[in-house]
Symmetry: C2
Subunit: 251 residues, 2 copies
């Protein structure tokens, strides 16, 4: 079993979204939300996201930086066969290694394309030297993982297929627990109440999100923590402070 | 007329998307695509996007870096009245200045909230010392611009209202011109053709985008340039190389 398949406990993650088409407004980015959701459910904290063009030097520099600063890094995009697909090469450069054609991926490609399988197709079998190939039961096509960097595709439908391997391979130190209180107060009126809770519960993340164009509530207040007793205690403290009639519901 | 209202020619832009809720997968980011589209239409090149949590030090460091590296920076989020709204303070720190309550914004707030207008409401009138307030005819509420940093709201409906001021204030050195060829070929088959065009037209950005789950075409090839004659010449060169029956349409 390759190392990347062993379940790894990681605290922090970063995502690197690659593609000129995302920055030029031609394509609406569609992978980050799915990744963020998946990581959150695993208890892994996504801390930083960067979006850059299809530039091999820029990608290599960013991967080198992010892979040192965070436990795990996910790239999205730039893994096809054409001139603007430079992610594999960039990740190799980031770690100071070369690339090679992986024979198992080359076989999948030649099985799929038959006699039409060209040198260009085989570019999709390139992996950085030392990379792991990881799969799950549902998707035979492997995901390339170099040290702590997962190279995921940009095409949203294919990106989604890879989330299962992430779920079966990574987990955080403990799940995040969340509560939300939907209120009739605007943010400015909530501020003094929230400040008291924030001051007393440094280990609980408190967020407030006004809904400007939704008549069903004015501000949603969220509480997030890894320790259930601290979470419940923070929510209770807030409920003591807010007038009962200002609360619409608690989730 | 404040300086930010004069039409400024800028080449490059960066965006800083701020908010724990974006990274935790609670909220799907919804402003970037609109901004990218707006900038592209103005001929401004969006080069880098970064997403980070509501952390005043992290935001300040990122703003300091991006504002030195790019002609203009747009922040989104963190401009409300609560404890997790720290963008104004962070931008002030990035430029080594303090903040103050702007009297014209304070008046808008007290007019809107009347006697209910509290200290918390007035936090929404905070601006970095030396910032410009810019408005357009449609939205009387001003946008705060500090040097080359535009502080935009996170709420998507309000973010969109600010795009008009960007459109009337900034423009790129020349518009981007785009063409797209929809083909029946897959990317690997297109690669040798694209390589020839890319080698001959370094000033034309060539992209190829496979559509895995759309029967209407296999790969869309895009051409982008600022010089119309170079664009048309690159498209013609590609059309000479690709078999006629492989082209579905040109846009």
């Amino acid at each position: 079993m390759p190392p990347a398949r062993q379940e790894s406990v990681v605290n922090t993650a970063a995502a690197l979204l690659i593609g000129n088409e995302l920055l030029s407004g031609k394509v609406r980015e569609a992978n980050l939300f799915e990744l963020a959701h998946t990581l959150r459910a695993l208890g892994v904290q996504l801390v930083r996201v960067v979006m850059i063009p299809d530039d091999v030097e820029a990608i290599a520099a960013e991967v080198a930086l992010l892979s040192r600063q965070y436990d795990v890094v996910f790239t999205s995009g730039g893994v096809g066969p054409t001139h603007d697909d430079v992610t594999i090469e960039a990740v190799a450069r980031a770690f100071g290694v070369a690339t090679h054609v992986d024979p198992s991926v080359a076989k999948l490609l030649s099985d799929a394309y038959g006699e039409a399988c060209s040198e260009a197709h085989l570019r999709m079998a390139l992996v950085p030297d030392g990379a792991c190939l990881t799969t799950d039961d549902e998707v035979p096509w492997p995901t390339v993982v170099m040290r702590n960097v997962w190279m995921l595709p940009g095409v949203p439908e294919v990106f989604r297929m890879k989330l299962g391997v992430i779920r079966s391979t990574l987990r955080g130190p403990a799940p995040f627990l969340s509560r939300a209180v939907f209120t009739r107060l605007d943010e400015a009126d909530l501020k003094p109440l929230l400040d008291q809770v924030v001051a007393a519960y440094a280990d609980v993340e408190v967020g407030s999100y006004p809904k400007w164009f939704d008549p069903s509530y004015k501000t949603k207040v969220t509480f997030d923590a890894r320790k259930p007793e601290r979470l419940e205690s923070a929510v209770s403290a807030f409920m003591e402070l807010i007038p009962r009639e200002a609360v619409i519901r608690v989730e």
